[in-house]
Amino acid sequence: MTAPLLEVQQVSVRFGALTALSEVSLTVESGKILAIIGPNGAGKTTLLNVISGFYHPTAGRILFEGRDRTHLSPPDVAELGVARTFQNVALFKGMSVLDNIMTGRLLKMNGSFLLEALYWGPARRQELAHRAVVERIIDFLEIQAIRKTPAGRLPYGLQKRVELARALAAEPRLLLLDEPMAGMNVEEKEDMCRFILDVNAEFGTSITLIEHDMSVVMDISDRVVVLDYGRKIADGLPEHVRKDRAVLDAYLGVSHD
């Protein structure tokens, strides 16, 4: 049994008088899909932000593959192989879809800027090699037609898909998705689920997602963690969590089985 990919240990986050997270612990197993659910304001996005390195916990630790990584900056976390999407899509509006996804390849690119200024030799070959990788992702997510469209002009559903593509371009070990299906219709949600499952199956990427749609959560996740008012109130297999008393009281309501 290898060390879990990510461990959150007793993390608390306080903003002045406001406590966003209180002694939350969870583990992310390598190659598994974890769903984080809970009412609005429970601290789900805050948790993702802590893992991403935007906020540093007021207390507690974060371990990545057994090593303490609590006080890293976002670019450092990216270098560990963590990629994410945002609740309010954070695409680069001024750039085309292709360029947006290419930015995801950034950490895989190294180069001398002199060679790049000449667009010659190794710089050129590298650019083309990355382009090939990105094109495979574009095929995978079926967004070929909008490659050159400026990201700001796309409808919401497509923007979310492009954001997923950008995250995938980094070939991450851990993918953090913040409400990837928000605002989508049934068909789009099915597509998104398919993509997420495919990514997990084909590349073994560990996925942690925040999601409100319970059918999606039950369908695709291996484990579920429930947050409420900044605390974890349940953690286990989907079927168990769904019947958990505390969860029903706080979030799900009475279930009609």
Binding site: T45, N49, F54, F86
Partner: protein
């Protein structure tokens, strides 16, 4: 080496102590200069607080107001009438600016609006010069530019009037923003144009009102500055000086504009008189900006401004 350090860190203070009356005069000169900056900065704060726009053209508006006033008075109009007409002109200007510049750019990024006000700045500069000519004009508002002594320290009547005017204006404006319904509405508008629109706040009216008030403040500032140094084009450069004042005081704070102005004014004067000779003078050209830069590094919201928190 030690001589240099001594000259830098000890000498100036000794100079200050050796003639306290002079020191007091320099300080007071700095306070008054600072208050003049504050008057200009006030216009900025008003507009920024109420419309979220950083009005680079504020200095030019001060100039324009002064030019109009002087121009009318030179043609024989009595002061009161000239003032009334100038006020009318500034209100008309506010109407035009709202219609032509602000309305089309509603809800664009702040930086776009800022650049539009840079364009406005240039336009008004050329326009003002075209209308009223470019030579320096004297502005006489009936307050003599003479000094009297208090406890051995020279105080200038004109500067004293400016200080009192500034104090009165600041108090009125501060009360207005904090206590009245309109003030609250203005703050809502500054926060989010679209949201304000959607709850029925009449954006256009508010903008015209605010820019008009800023225009009237500009008239007061223009009178004070113009009476002191004559109405000339260097007045529009004052706008640039007001930027550091705002950074120190906070962009959204009326009392901050005063405190910031005082600090800049005093700092400049003291720096120029006591440290200036060490480096050949003219420190005033950059002192304010460097001070602002230092502030930006350590306290970007200024002394009284609101902290900007970015949501992820």
């Amino acid at each position: 080496m030690t001589e240099a350090l001594y000259a830098l860190l000890v000498g100036p203070f000794k100079d200050m102590g050796s003639s306290p009356a002079f020191f007091a005069e320099v300080l007071i000169g700095g306070i008054f200069a600072g208050l003049m900056y504050s008057l200009v900065a006030l216009g900025f704060v008003l507009i920024f607080k109420a419309s979220g726009v950083f009005n680079f053209a504020q200095g030019v508006m001060v100039l324009f107001a002064a030019l109009t006033l002087v121009g009318l008075m030179e043609r024989g109009m009595p002061v009161a009438l000239a003032l009334a007409i100038t006020a009318g002109v500034m209100i008309l200007l506010a109407l035009l600016i709202e219609r032509i510049v602000l309305r089309p750019l509603v809800n664009q990024a702040q930086i776009i609006l800022f650049m539009a006000t840079i364009g406005l700045n240039f336009f008004l500069e050329g326009f003002g010069e075209m209308l009223w000519g470019s030579n320096v004009k004297r502005l006489d508002v009936g307050i003599p530019d003479t000094s009297f002594k208090v406890a051995g320290v020279l105080i200038n009547r004109l500067e004293l009037t400016a200080a009192i005017t500034a104090a009165v204006l600041v108090s009125i404006l501060a009360i207005f923003f904090q206590r009245t319904r309109i003030g609250r509405a203005l703050r809502a508008v500054a926060d989010d144009h679209e949201a304000a629109l959607s709850i029925g706040i009449p954006l256009k009216t508010i903008w015209v009102v605010v820019w008009s008030v800023a225009g009237l403040v500009a008239i007061v500032a223009g009178i004070m500055w113009g009476a002191k140094s004559g109405v000339q084009f260097s007045l529009s450069l004052v706008a640039l000086k007001a930027l550091p004042v705002l950074i120190l005081g906070g962009f959204t704070s009326v009392p901050g504009a005063v405190v910031g102005g005082l600090i800049i004014g005093m700092g400049e004067k003291l720096g120029e008189v006591y440290w200036g000779p060490l480096v050949g003078g003219a420190i005033e050209n950059w002192f304010a900006y460097v001070l602002a830069l230092v502030f930006l590094l350590f306290r970007p919201q200024g002394l009284f401004g609101e902290r900007i928190i970015e949501r992820v």
